[in-house]
């Protein structure tokens, strides 16, 4: 009889441990099943999201208000990014989302500039106005190429 009780306790302990493990992995993982309750999702279409990863931060005025949950190639060859935004944070209809870099070579994140519209984005709405990732190589080559051109014009 005593042996049976010990077996039960060990079994219960194992199950609790396993549940704790599942909870922990869901909380720390890239996608949490609990996140849909606390967040709402909006999408944004960019020309270029080079360097942006799923799980990247979404910031307003430098404060993290959500994260990127999905990046896919959408219609018209635009990158469609789904953002999970904290329910307490309201984003205006005419907000502008731009992909920025933390420091010069840091991680990419999405910065949202709030607009002046009185209408707010709802679940599954789209942020229409976006600024894509800045392509440093393109800028440098434009600068070099541009200056060479200007010199030859003189």
């Amino acid at each position: 009889m005593k042996k049976v009780t010990v077996d039960y306790v060990v079994g219960l302990f194992m199950i609790l441990g396993f549940l704790a493990f599942v909870y922990l992995s869901l909380q720390l993982g890239e996608f949490s099943i609990f996140s849909m309750e606390k967040n709402y999702s909006v999408s944004a279409q960019f020309d270029n999201v080079s360097g942006l990863k799923e799980g990247a931060a979404v910031e307003i005025a430098g404060v993290s208000v959500g994260r990127v949950s999905k990046i896919i190639l959408g219609e018209d060859d635009l990158a469609e990014v789904t953002l999970l935004i904290n329910k307490d944070v309201k984003i205006t209809m005419d907000a502008i989302a731009s992909i920025r870099t933390q420091g010069i070579i840091g991680d990419k994140f999405i910065r949202v500039f709030q607009g002046g519209d009185s209408e707010m984005l709802k679940h599954d709405d789209v942020i229409w106005e976006t600024e894509s990732a800045v392509d440093l190589e393109k800028l440098i080559s434009q600068y070099i190429f541009g200056s060479a051109q200007e010199k030859s014009d003189e």
Binding site: G116, E129, E131, V134, E150
Partner: protein, 208 residues
Amino acid sequence: MKHLFFARRITTFFVIISALFGFCSVSASSDTPLDQMKTSVEKLLEILSDDQLKTPEMQSERKKRVVSVVDGIFDFHGMARSSLAKEWQKISAEDQKEFVDLFSKLIKQRYIGKIDAYDGQKVVFGKEIIRGERALIYSTLQDNSSSYSMVYFLKKNQDKWLIINMKIENVSLVANYRSDFSSIIRKDKYAGLVKMLKDKVSGFKESW
């Protein structure tokens, strides 16, 4: 890198002036946004290359024609509201009206005021994307030596597509003003911003 980018942006702004006022309002309701744009650019080029309008006496007439065109295709109210962001809700209806007026003058003065810089640049249109009431038009402005990418954001207003924002080399015009205005408002309040705008457009002719 930021300086380089900024310098590039300034240059770009100068060069694109010509394209900015290139959109006329003549359009039928069935036209797609791209059709409207194309008609407008043709109209603009007509005004710009008209030798009769190039004489000094005709300068004001030329500007007037360009401005009448621009007024019909830009949603200055929407752009001003969007640029002022949160502050827009806090000011009175009269102040909003005044701000739209100042903002449209600022834009016109800054870009259209320089129409003489036009020197045969070409506008090449790319794809257009329409999603309900909103549309995106991709275009490239080609200069002799370089080309600049320009993207227009349009919104349908009754039967007409109006420009509510534009991106030049991936820099959003409204986002740029939004951050400028908000830093001025933080420092000098809304009154300070209005005063600054008034100073800037004071030399601007009423006829515009």
